[in-house]
């Protein structure tokens, strides 16, 4: 009985102690600092619009990565999948096979899905450790991107106007690309919280051994998760090419590292089972703010990279220290 009361009371304080809350706090402090250093230029309508538009694809990728990390996997090939799917869509558009923007998006998503499926099969059926499987596939996907494009670009004038305009357009004052982020975000919440498959993903990451004997088909979960992640990377590929109105073989190389950093900052555990879409959204926004604002606040161009690395490191360390403090508090509160 005592136990129950304790839990009810601590709901609110738990909310404050959650990783999301501490991250939000860090974000607000960061914004305030930047706002001050940039003489008030940062929190303007324009900069926020730019931020949401320019980092929309990173955020979308982070949601896909969330799923993969939840089941205890990792995917370092998403940058390559993005490039391959974005390039395929753009090439087909250039050659006139695709009549409208929707079909380009559809093709990119389909290609991404296929890439993800291959990875899922290798990981689930081939029993290959995810980081190795995606390391190998990354070479293949990136190589294919160059091969199908013959190392050429698809340039702005070869793209459909409707495709390019979509990325620049807005609805209800919010940029279309950010609408995609919002939609994926909500879809993720519903999917992970309210569908039984979503719960299976958490279960699979929380205790993969138990899953095997609880009637959940672990292989199926893995294959579907990697496929969804691939499809999301494909979506991001279309977002990227329509946003920048160009498709280049080397696009988004290294994006996976930013995305993983965003997830980890957002409280996703690399061991699986822990992490929420809200945390990931906040993590992605934090990374976007760091990348965007360093030059905005007038930091020397040559300092930026070092600072970015330092800030990511700091964010991760602070998170651990907060977590440790919470644990210690909890222990000290224990009656012996």
């Amino acid at each position: 009985m005592k136990n129950k009361l304790l839990q009810k009371n601590s709901k609110l304080s738990e909310l404050f102690r959650s990783r999301e809350a501490s991250l939000l706090l860090v974000m607000i402090l960061l914004c305030a600092l930047i706002q001050w250093r940039s003489n008030g230029a940062f929190l303007s309508n324009i900069v926020i619009t730019q931020l949401t538009q320019n980092y929309a694809y990173t955020a979308v990728l982070a949601f896909g990565m969330l799923l993969v990390l939840l089941i205890g996997g990792i995917d370092i090939s998403i940058g390559a999948i993005l490039a391959l799917s974005g390039m395929t869509g753009s090439l087909l558009m250039r050659d006139g096979f695709l009549p409208n923007a929707t079909s380009v998006y559809a093709v990119s998503i389909a290609v991404g899905l296929l890439c993800g499926l291959v990875i899922g099969l290798i990981v689930a059926k081939g029993k290959v450790i995810p980081i190795i499987a995606t390391l190998g596939m990354q070479y293949i996907f990136r190589g294919l991107t160059y091969a199908i494009s013959d190392t050429k670009w698809v340039s702005s004038d070869q793209m459909l106007a409707s495709y390019k305009n979509f990325a620049q357009g807005s609805f209800l004052g919010i940029n279309n690309l950010f609408w995609i982020v919002i939609i994926v975000f909500i879809a993720m919440i519903v999917f992970l919280r309210w569908t039984s498959f979503g719960r299976q993903i958490y279960a699979a990451g929380s205790n993969p051994e138990a899953v095997k004997i609880s009637g959940i088909n672990l292989d199926r979960v893995k294959i579907i998760v990697y496929s969804i992640n691939g499809a999301i990377a494909g979506l991001a590929g279309a977002m990227y090419t329509s946003m920048y109105a160009t498709a280049q073989g080397n696009m988004a190389s290294g994006a996976e590292m930013d995305v993983i950093a965003a997830c980890v900052i957002g409280g996703v555990s690399l061991n699986g089972g822990q992490g929420t879409p809200l945390g990931v959204l906040l993590g992605a926004i934090t990374i976007a703010i760091i990348s965007k604002s360093l030059s905005l606040v007038g930091i020397d161009a040559f300092w930026q990279q070092a600072l970015k690395g330092g800030i990511i490191l700091l964010a991760v360390l602070v998170n651990v220290l907060v977590q440790r403090r919470n644990n210690r508090k909890a222990l000290e509160g224990r009656e012996i």
């Binding site: 450790i129 980081i131 690395g309």
Partner: protein, 335 residues
């Protein structure tokens, strides 16, 4: 002591040819031979010793880094910061040399930088054991490279090649054999012996398999991890010296992608990123498979992107090998 059942336990391993053939290393040897046959038959230039050694020299800097990377992976850790470390160490070598005009000071500073960078990784990871090495070294990689960019700005540093002996570190040869190849071989033997024949090596295996059990067996897990990360840093600095001898000029984008390359070599060699598995011989063969395959495919002028696809496919095919092998074993067992 206890009531004996008189049971005796065998202590000599039965060695069967079949087991030997089914080992990962055997597969690698086969691939290695196949790669060489293929290269030699498709390009008449492949077997020219001088050129062959030139090409080997080309991947040995990465190969050197793959040696401690094998240790890191064996421990169940990962280090994505080796590229940044080599870049920063090489930068420091150039800067110190140009400031003092003393190459020895430069080399000392370069090694010190490598050690410091590795120690930083080790310190963070052993003090904050709940952090994943992947994310920490990812951040330090950006940090190291960033520092190099800060130091060099839009310029570069160099001039070391004007010292004849320094340049020879990379370019010098005994007959057709480069000095660096000999250095690499010595390092490989030492690293291999330590990994397989010493207490330290066995302890690394134990940590990679099961950190808790290792600690309960009295192994100083965090001390060893700290040492291996620092060692990796030192080898990065050491490799950076040769790298400087090769390039003679350092910019802040050198050594990019060395991390994944070194990891690929180890993984192909059978050293799993999950820790505790694999042999050093495998890693060494894998270094040469990747390097020579690249060279052979380069000689027949395949484009870089095709080579990339071939290497990715090879990696996937080889890591699928155990699954396929078990599948066949099980089918036979059932019969």
């Amino acid at each position: 002591m206890a009531t004996k059942s008189g049971r005796t336990i065998a202590h000599v391993k039965e060695r069967s040819l079949k087991d030997l053939l089914l080992r990962w290393e055997s597969l690698l040897v086969l691939i290695f031979i196949a790669v060489n046959i293929m290269n030699a038959s498709f390009s008449p230039y492949y077997l020219d010793a001088y050129n062959l050694f030139t090409s080997i020299n080309g991947f040995l800097v990465k190969g050197m880094i793959a040696l401690p990377m094998a240790y890191i992976l064996l421990l169940g850790d990962i280090d994505l910061s080796v590229g940044g470390n080599v870049c920063l160490s090489a930068t420091v070598l150039g800067i110190v040399y140009n400031a003092t005009n003393n190459i020895w000071l430069g080399i000392a500073a370069c090694l010190a930088t490598g050690i410091l960078c590795g120690a930083l990784n080790g310190l963070i990871l052993t003090k904050f054991t709940e952090l994943a090495p992947m994310i920490v070294t990812l951040a330090t990689n950006i940090l190291f490279r960033g520092l190099s960019e800060r130091i060099l700005g839009d310029g570069s540093t160099g001039g070391m090649q004007s010292i004849d002996w320094f340049s020879k570190l990379y370019y010098g040869r005994v007959g057709p054999v480069p000095y660096m190849f000999i250095v690499f071989c010595v390092m490989a033997v030492v690293f291999g012996l330590v990994m397989h024949k010493t207490v330290f090596g066995r302890q690394m295996y134990a940590i990679g398999e099961n950190k808790r059990a290792a600690a309960y067996a009295g192994i100083k897990v965090e001390k060893i991890r700290m040492f291996v990360f620092t060692l990796t840093g030192f080898i990065c600095g050491f490799a950076a010296v040769f790298y400087c001898a090769c390039l003679g000029s350092v910019k802040s984008n050198v050594a990019e992608g060395f991390d994944l390359e070194a990891i690929s070599m180890c993984v192909l060699g059978g050293i799993s990123t999950a820790g505790g598995k694999g042999t050093f011989l495998g890693a060494i063969i894998a270094i040469f498979i990747i390097g020579l395959l690249r060279y052979g495919l380069g000689l027949i002028n395949l484009s870089g992107q095709t080579i990339r696809i071939v290497i990715g496919a090879l990696l996937i095919a080889v890591v699928l090998f155990p699954t396929i092998r078990d599948l066949i074993k099980n089918r036979k067992a059932k019969k």
